[in-house]
């Protein structure tokens, strides 16, 4: 399952979708909105996606990971729209026969989804707003 959604993500549902009876290990990464960035309070975040291409890019990443680590199940859900601190922005869940593969595959997927999927976030502070990582002057940061 690959989902780009404006609705709150049900983490348990993503996990259930990725689970498999033959798997002994499920690894889950949950990216949440932090309450600070650049030492300033984040009021909210705006996420937008080029949806069809985002789904296609995420699918490529998952296909690579599934082949390399022998995944038995997987699911990725990414939220768009307005998110407040503490809310879930992305969930990646994978299941594999053994735990090392589950960790490596999940990390590969989130690293590459973040690097390749056409999804953008704008941080809204009390005194302004900024597209994250768009320009060189912005302090590098990451979650």
């Amino acid at each position: 399952m690959i989902k780009i959604t404006e609705k709150a993500i049900d983490v348990q549902k993503v996990i259930d979708t990725a689970s498999s009876l033959g798997a002994g290990a499920v690894n889950v990464f949950i990216g949440t909105v932090r309450n600070t960035a650049h030492q300033k309070n984040v009021v909210w975040l705006e996420y937008e996606a080029y949806e069809a291409m985002a789904v296609a890019e995420i699918r490529k990443v998952i296909d690579e990971a599934a082949a390399k680590w022998g995944l038995l199940g997987w699911a990725v859900s990414h939220r768009i729209g307005t998110l407040k601190p503490g809310e879930v922005a992305v969930v990646v869940a994978v299941s594999a026969p053994h735990r090392k593969e589950s960790f490596d595959a999940c990390q590969y997927i989130i690293d590459n989804v973040k690097a390749k999927a056409p999804i953008w976030k704008k941080e809204v502070f009390e005194d302004g707003e900024e597209w994250v990582d768009a320009r060189p002057m912005a302090t590098a940061h990451d979650n």
Binding site: K114, V132, A134, P136
Partner: protein, 79 residues
């Protein structure tokens, strides 16, 4: 050639809209990049700009057709 460009993230702000009609000399992705730099110099201040054609990242030598779906991909920041 004439094309319609989808713009996302900061490029939506720079171009002034989510979809922009654009006319340029040449028919390669690189020609489009040069034309954009000329008309919207602020684009040069971005960390990077990829151009996607029909939902795939395309390099500057890629040939464009008028029916292609073309999109500007400024630095992504999902997750």
């Amino acid at each position: 050639m004439k094309c319609t460009i989808k713009a996302f993230g900061i490029t939506k702000d720079i171009l002034g809209g989510r979809e922009v009609n654009f006319e340029m000399d040449g028919n390669k992705v690189g020609d489009l990049r040069n034309a954009l730099h000329g008309r919207f110099p602020e684009i040069k201040s971005l960390n990077s700009l990829f151009i996607a054609v029909n939902n795939n990242y395309a390099d500057d030598s890629h040939l464009l057709n008028e029916t292609d779906e073309i999109a500007l991909i400024p630095p992504v920041s999902g997750g």
